[in-house]
């Protein structure tokens, strides 16, 4: 056992408190674990003959969630629940069904292997596949041979949690879009290569008879490229024209469409020039850029989080019968107003309601953003989606479905994103003038040549259109954006929506959320005061051991001291503290009256949240917990203020800490106790004054305001929902990046302008020459490529530049 002493947990890699407490002999080797959860999971993995998982994995596993061990998997066998996400698979047997499930806990590709192999050994599973990128499991099984709950518990045993991925249209649509654009790209790629080959024959000078043959061949190949691959451009152009504005897709469509039809005419009449190769190549490169952009956008698996997922799928309905109470598990959707439901520890509240019986702490961060739970007792109201932290309560349902506060927030998000101001991209604005000018010019030139030399008119007009092909113009913005996105990601700001870059350059008002944004968001140990000789390290290790199994937010503050000691007989007293035995001594930690076990309470050393540790009823040490400011918060606020930008603190927290924090940071404008809709109101008032607002937040309560701000930034620890709705995610906690990003966005705008100027200058030069009939097709092609290349190279300079605050 000695060699195991210093080893971390075999499963999750966390430090092991007592190497002899949780052990298992696996493959003839003694292994130690940090908790019974890890032990059980590792045993289950070995027990199913999948031990090689531990050699395959490239990342450590997450610690299995022992708190939810008592999950009621049987509930998933309810037919009324299953009809939401289990569908009959098309097969010979009607018992063959399929479902899509979300997997929690996937850390690397080996997890995929583990889950798939575990499930494949079960009888009755037809097919199973896990996608690590989207964290989705798709499975087919015979429902007469195996039950849903057995599948879920088999996966739970090896350390992963499955939840049904219902409301899946968005994901399905995304997959369809993904596949379709890959097909379009594939066709354009094949077509480009084939037509290019044929074009060599044409350019090197084929004889008359062969020329017609080669033209027909390239016509056949280019047709699917134009009709299938280039379709998104045509669709977007038509949509824009219907709404009566011109976007980049309009000249692109005109160039592709006109060059293609003119080339068909040339093929049929054996005259003029054909441009099938240019058309295919142009389509391919534009599609390639769009495909890469889309892939990056789809790759973050956040896109599928929804408000509805905050609610549990089932609820425990309490029925009062003649012979006492009975509890049954029902689908959450079948609840009715007036029903009584029981909500256990760690469960989310399924509906809005009033507490009928019991007392508990409720995490209401979805309304306030505050992570510390609120005490609730009989007749207090609770909100759907909030989490019960301490003890089971019975709740009378007052609102369900669309009437809940949660749906109200959801509707707020929808309306906020509809009203979101949209900064029109510079290129699109230019495009409207450009297209108008080119079209007018072409008509004039066509008219002139019709009068002067009718047989040449069509070909001159065509060469005008090809030469002015908006290749460089349409690449000018996307190329610069792509370079900027990769640069910003390198600096720690992941931009999910590249449209926000235009707004980012104009930001003049910044609004911060408090908890989790300017602060770390979790209570931290800020001060330790020993009352006897117990050293700080040891005292904190004792507390860490006491708090080890607790899900209370306070417990997390001591996580870093875990591992040196273990406590036995740990008891959690709701709302007061914990007690336990370490090395034969009885320790208590929590509120002063709880820890000292007397009425004569020791006064706390100063204001703030002080907790007391006692040993055998003797006070030992005071520990102060507080939410710490992020290190970069002050510097970041100063940067904004120096540049005369408005900085504002908008918090859902009602306490006076908001004011203190605002003063400490030098923020003059602050609002406390704001509900989600009030936050949105504040932002919209600024927007009415023509200000461009950046909002930085993290909680579910920030989601509406994030959707409404011109630029929204979510912290990396933010809830999935907030990240989905934000334009950017701040990957590291460095808030000064925000200011640097604004400076960078201004530089980006400059680069885009340079690119556009160049593209226009090139077109302006080439147009008169083409109009006079001086430009042969090969020169037009070279000019087109060169001008595009210059635009791309200029954009690439951005990805190499430094992010500075100047």
């Amino acid at each position: 056992m000695n060699q195991a002493q210093s080893q971390p947990c075999y499963h999750c890699g966390l430090p092991v408190a007592d190497p002899n407490e949780y052990t298992a002999t696996l493959d003839e080797q003694a292994r130690s674990f940090c908790c019974p959860g890890c032990q059980a999971v590792a045993q289950a993995i070995h027990g199913s003959g999948l031990a090689s998982f531990y050699q395959f994995r490239s990342e450590l596993n997450l610690k299995p969630d022992t708190e939810i061990q008592k999950l009621n998997f049987e509930a998933y066998d309810l037919p009324e629940l299953q009809k939401e996400f289990v569908f009959p698979a098309d097969g010979e047997s009607e018992n063959l069904v399929q479902a899509q499930l979300l997997v929690e806990g996937i850390t690397c590709a080996a997890c995929v292997w583990l889950i798939e192999h575990r499930l494949q050994t079960l009888d009755g599973i037809e097919r199973v596949s896990v996608n690590a990128a989207t964290e989705r499991l798709s499975i087919r099984w015979h429902k007469d041979k195996i039950r849903m709950s057995e599948i879920l518990s088999a996966v739970f045993d090896i350390g992963y949690k499955l939840t049904p991925a219902n409301e899946d249209q968005a994901q399905e649509k995304r997959q369809k879009e993904d596949r379709l654009s890959l097909m379009r790209l594939g066709v354009a790629g094949f077509g480009m290569m084939q037509v290019g080959m044929v074009a060599v024959a044409l350019y090197t000078g084929a004889s008359e008879q062969w020329m017609i043959y080669w033209r027909w061949v390239s016509l056949i190949i280019a047709t699917p490229v134009v009709l299938f691959s280039a379709r998104p451009f045509f669709n977007a152009a038509i949509r824009a024209l219907r709404q009566k504005h011109l976007v980049m897709d309009v000249p692109v469509s005109i160039a592709i469409g006109f060059a293609y039809t003119a080339s068909i005419w040339a093929t049929l009449s054996a005259s003029g020039e054909v441009y099938f190769d240019s058309v295919s190549m142009f389509t391919f490169f534009l599609l390639l850029g769009r495909y890469l952009e889309m892939r990056a956008r789809h790759n973050n698996s956040l896109g599928n989080s929804k408000f509805a997922q905050l609610l549990p799928l089932t609820a425990t309905l309490v029925r009062k019968g003649t012979n006492g109470e009975s509890q049954t598990t029902v689908a959450q959707k079948s609840l009715k107003i007036g029903d009584i439901v029981a909500v256990g520890t760690g469960e989310s509240v399924p509906c809005d309601g009033v507490i009928e019986d019991g007392e508990t702490l409720i995490d209401e961060s979805l309304l306030t953003g505050e992570s510390s739970p609120v005490k609730k007792s009989v007749r207090d109201s609770v909100v759907a989606g909030s989490v019960n932290m301490e003890s089971t309560v019975k709740i009378k349902v007052t609102a369900i479905g669309q009437q809940t506060r949660l749906s109200a927030i959801e509707r707020l998000v929808e309306s906020a994103s509809l009203n979101k101001p949209y900064q029109i991209a510079l290129a699109d604005k230019l495009a409207s003038y450009f297209v108008g000018a080119v079209l007018l010019f072409s008509v004039l030139i066509g008219g002139f040549w019709l009068w002067h030399e009718p047989s040449e008119a069509l070909w001159i007009v065509l060469s005008v259109l090809v030469v002015t092909c908006p290749c460089a113009l349409s690449l000018a913005t996307p190329a610069a954006h792509a370079a900027a996105l990769s640069r910003l990601r390198g600096a720690g700001l992941l931009v999910l929506n590249s449209d926000c870059l235009a707004a980012l350059a104009k930001v003049d008002q910044v609004a911060f959320d408090k908890t989790g944004t300017l602060t770390v968001g979790k209570p931290q140990v800020v001060e330790y005061k020993s009352l006897n000789s117990l050293p700080e390290e040891e005292g904190l290790a004792i507390i860490a051991a006491l708090e080890m199994g607790s899900s209370h937010p306070i417990a997390a503050a001591f996580q870093q001291w875990q591992g040196n000691k273990t406590a036995r007989d740990v008891k959690n007293t709701i709302g007061s503290g914990v007690s336990g035995t370490i090395d034969t001594r009885q320790y208590r930690f929590g509120k002063a009256e709880f820890a000292s076990e007397t009425d004569k309470v020791l006064p706390a050393p100063s204001s703030g949240q002080w907790l007391l540790l006692s040993c055998e009823s003797e006070p030992v040490a005071w520990v102060k917990l507080d939410d710490k400011l992020r290190e970069s918060a002050k510097e970041s606020v100063e940067l904004f203020r120096e540049r005369k930008m408005g900085v504002e603190l908008i918090s859902g927290d009602a306490s006076d800490t908001v004011e203190k924090m605002a003063q400490a940071l030098g923020i003059n404008e602050y609002r406390a106790g704001c509900l989600p809709d009030e936050k949105l109101d504040i932002i919209q008032k600024h927007q009415d004054k023509q200000k461009v607002v950046m909002m930085v937040g993290d909680g579910i309560n920030d989601v509406p305001v994030l959707s409404g701000a011109d630029v929204s930034v979510a912290m990396s620890q933010a809830t999935d929902l907030a990240q989905t709705r934000a334009d950017c995610i701040l990957l590291n906690a460095d808030l000064t990046i925000l200011y640097k990003a604004i400076v960078f966005a201004k530089r980006l705008r400059k680069t885009v302008k340079q690119n556009l100027t160049w593209a226009l200058a090139y077109n302006g030069l080439a147009l008169p020459l083409a109009a006079l009939g001086y430009i042969p097709p090969w020169a037009a092609a070279i000019g087109m490529s060169l001008s595009s290349l210059i635009v791309v190279i200029n954009a690439l300079r951005l990805s190499r530049s430094e992010l500075t605050a100047a």
Partner: protein
Amino acid sequence: MEILYILVPIALIFVFIAIKVLFWAINNGQYDDLNTEAHRILFDEQKKTNDSSPGKDSDKPQK
């Protein structure tokens, strides 16, 4: 050179087949998750030597 009149259409048929195969692969989900598939081949190779007999007993030493 008249052979080109036959060869080029044949080449076009090949292109058509290639695109068909690509479409089949895309619709079959082959390109949905590029990351996992790259690793899977490594796992399966090891599996043959390590746990050729999946079952309750394989956590016992295999000698």
